[in-house]
Symmetry: D2
Subunit: 262 residues, 4 copies
């Protein structure tokens, strides 16, 4: 699981059905200039934050919903869970489990820090870094990405606008995820409210470090939001409350994933 | 385990052997002015930091060494482990497992935070707060203590001198642990280098909030260091590298605990 | 000016008119148990924040309005200005000029820090510490208070609730200023929305460190707000937007100060 | 002064003497690929930190020494002073005065912050950002650079290695200044201890954003250090203790500047 996840997942696509092939080929066109010979599987990262609906036993329950949904779509779903929950989830589901934060430190006298080595040991195959709710200093982001690379886990660096996306991409994480902070948790999808930040980020990354994948987030919850995000050139989405806090998490997730087909 | 730990452990002492009774009665004298009718069991908190010798499988191994040693002495040993390791340790050993840090936030949009609820769910019965390597803002310390209280776990607030010990004690955590930062990891025990900071902290807490226990730390590793710490009026010690990084962790721990008997 | 300010101003009151004597004597009763033989002059601290209406030349203009108003009331008005403006203001007005923040560091390699020595050299006679918009770690607050003491300037530590007020007071600053963060800038005065936080803070400080003065803030702008704050036992108020952003700053200040008389 | 400084100083070189012309032409060759038609004047930024030898009246004295030295060499010397000293220095010397830090906020409720507008109003024409002793979050660096641009002052972003230099340059500040933290204050010049970090930074910036100037720092104090820094392709140096804490500041500065002539 680790290897697949770390080495940029989904570059080889298994045979897919008609609808999916149509979209994939459309997507592939959009991406062809970036990575001519690969097809990119849509990536959905569900951030559990510290929501009660996604802590401890509830976190495991929601992860299982994601695992089931994933089997029905040509999509990679990763769950970004709280550090104390990583082991519980990774031991019980087969989808990638991410940390929500990794400090830019290694082994040593760093009481209270979350290290890449420790989350890897607990079963994580990736992590968010620099989420809007856990911003890091520039040097820490760089050190955290290096620590992830050394530990063999994926790093998704969150950013808030096109210039910070450029800067983050120049550090060569696996992904950047651009999220205008004012839209996080708003229910207003970034793809509608500020499509330029997505296309601008995709453009900037393409020029500065084309090997870095681009996700977008903030306000995403419906299938049409995911669809729009992909149409704007991103490879997937980072989302949270729209699914986690939905009355029916499973139905919400299925609505979201419906944006992939057709 | 949680209840015992949270309600200030060790207020009821099981029958003990001669040497131990002698020391306990001596200790009890020292503490009588504070808490007339209880006897205080010595508390040792071993901070695993992010040392490689105390991460993942190694953390479990060291916790087992602590568990065994504990059975031979009239002492409470708690291990303060990295957040991703809490569940692994708490499911496999019977001694109290602590977190190294808890943020002053609850359920909600706090990506990357460590909450009291999540560490409790993973099996922790207490936590360090405000360690010198993870200092918090005053308002955060207060919020973190409140969160621990709400979740039913113990809170040990680390401090760096007598004034900050006073301030921390006024917030009514279960314990304060005073550690002069310059002695941490130095091998020079606080009980020798700066005994006044220990007696001053004990005095200050006695006056401001006598229900709060006082630990001390920094440079502690030998039995004589622990002994001196108890003689200065503390209820126990917080330590790390002296044991974790010892060539023979078991022997180092036994040397330390020898300070309790006789 | 420094000496007067630092040694807790206003312990000797000049002859005052009838109304004022009445309130002072009422206040004095409330404070008699604390400080038997002194009468406390009301203290108003106006926080300029980084408002455009209080930056550079505008900061000087507003300071002059404060200086004039002060002469008409039995009150001490201090202005808490941005660090780059301290010298400009202190060289041109006679009222106390405060910094808005002082780091807990001294001379040395602390690029970008604001030191007590530097703000003193520029003419400041006091400072806010730990404002809700610039929270500090506990150890930093203690170090900052020590640095202020060493430099001979007053320290007002801001707090957010009764427990943090207790903790801050135990560090023996000149004043604590309690401000519920959710009311800051709200226009809803703390004295109405949460009077218990003011009386609770006054009580707590009286017990733990009676030499420390208590101010309150958040949502204060009218004379009646100041009046209520004094009636609840505080020695004065910390306020900002209600005056700084008023269309007519002079009129707003006079409305506020009208709360002192009668 | 502001305009000259902000619009990248020194693009027009006054007639210079032989030695200087030789070096300039050599330098110009090195830079020709970057900026074909301009010659770059060497830039020396002296960081006063919070040293007692560079606070208040002492800061003014040292600034005057810099002003005098500057007239004798074809060099731009800027002094980066503490915020409360900006006005004092800028009103009394003619060389550029920089702040040591600017927060990424504007006008508003940001108590204790240092804004670009306020340092500009006090006479600063530029600022350091993200110094190793005052690291900022990525989003803050971006916001601070934007604020500097809006206020019309220069921004020098400090970095710690080649990847962070790349990231910082991608945000288009006026300069980046790369300084390995472990060499700061060490007396061991970066140009000797780690020349690759300088050439690597110059290379990276050239590729990613050639309009950004590159300085280097850490351990610089002698003329030969400055010389080596220029030979490695940087446009100048950022330094501090080597001059500020020298027994004879004037002599130390002259030794440094001798690295320009020959």
């Amino acid at each position: 699981m680790v290897d697949e996840d770390h080495s940029r997942p989904s570059k080889n696509l298994a045979p897919i059905d008609g609808d999916q092939a149509a979209r994939s080929s459309k997507l592939a066109v959009g991406h062809r200039r970036l990575r001519p010979s690969v097809m990119i599987m849509t990536k959905v990262v569900l951030n559990f934050k510290t929501y009660s609906e996604a802590t401890g036993a509830e976190a495991l329950k929601l992860s299982r919903i994601c695992e089931e949904a994933k089997d029905q779509y040509d999509v990679e779903i990763a769950v970004a869970v709280q550090a104390p929950d990583i082991r519980l989830i990774s031991e019980n589901v087969s989808i990638p489990v991410y940390a929500q934060h990794v400090d830019g430190v290694g082994f040593g006298g760093f009481t209270g820090s979350i290290t890449a080595a420790a989350v890897k040991a607990a079963g994580a195959t990736g992590t968010l870094i620099n989420h809007s709710e856990r911003r890091l200093r520039l040097a820490e982001i760089e050190a955290s990405i290096s620590a992830c690379r050394a530990a063999g886990i994926s790093a998704i660096v969150c950013t808030n606008n096109v210039p910070t996306t450029r800067a983050a991409a120049s550090l060569k994480p696996d992904y950047v995820a651009v999220e205008p902070p004012e839209l996080i948790g708003s229910g207003i999808p970034v793809s509608k409210a500020d499509p330029g930040i997505v296309t601008g980020s995709v453009e900037a990354v393409k020029r500065i470090e084309p090997s870095v994948g681009v996700l977008c987030g903030a306000g995403i919850s419906r299938g049409e939001d995911l669809r729009a995000a992909l149409d704007l050139g991103s490879e997937g989405v980072l989302l949270a409350s729209g699914i986690v806090k939905a009355k029916d998490q499973k139905a919400a997730l299925e609505d979201l994933l419906s944006g992939i087909r057709r």
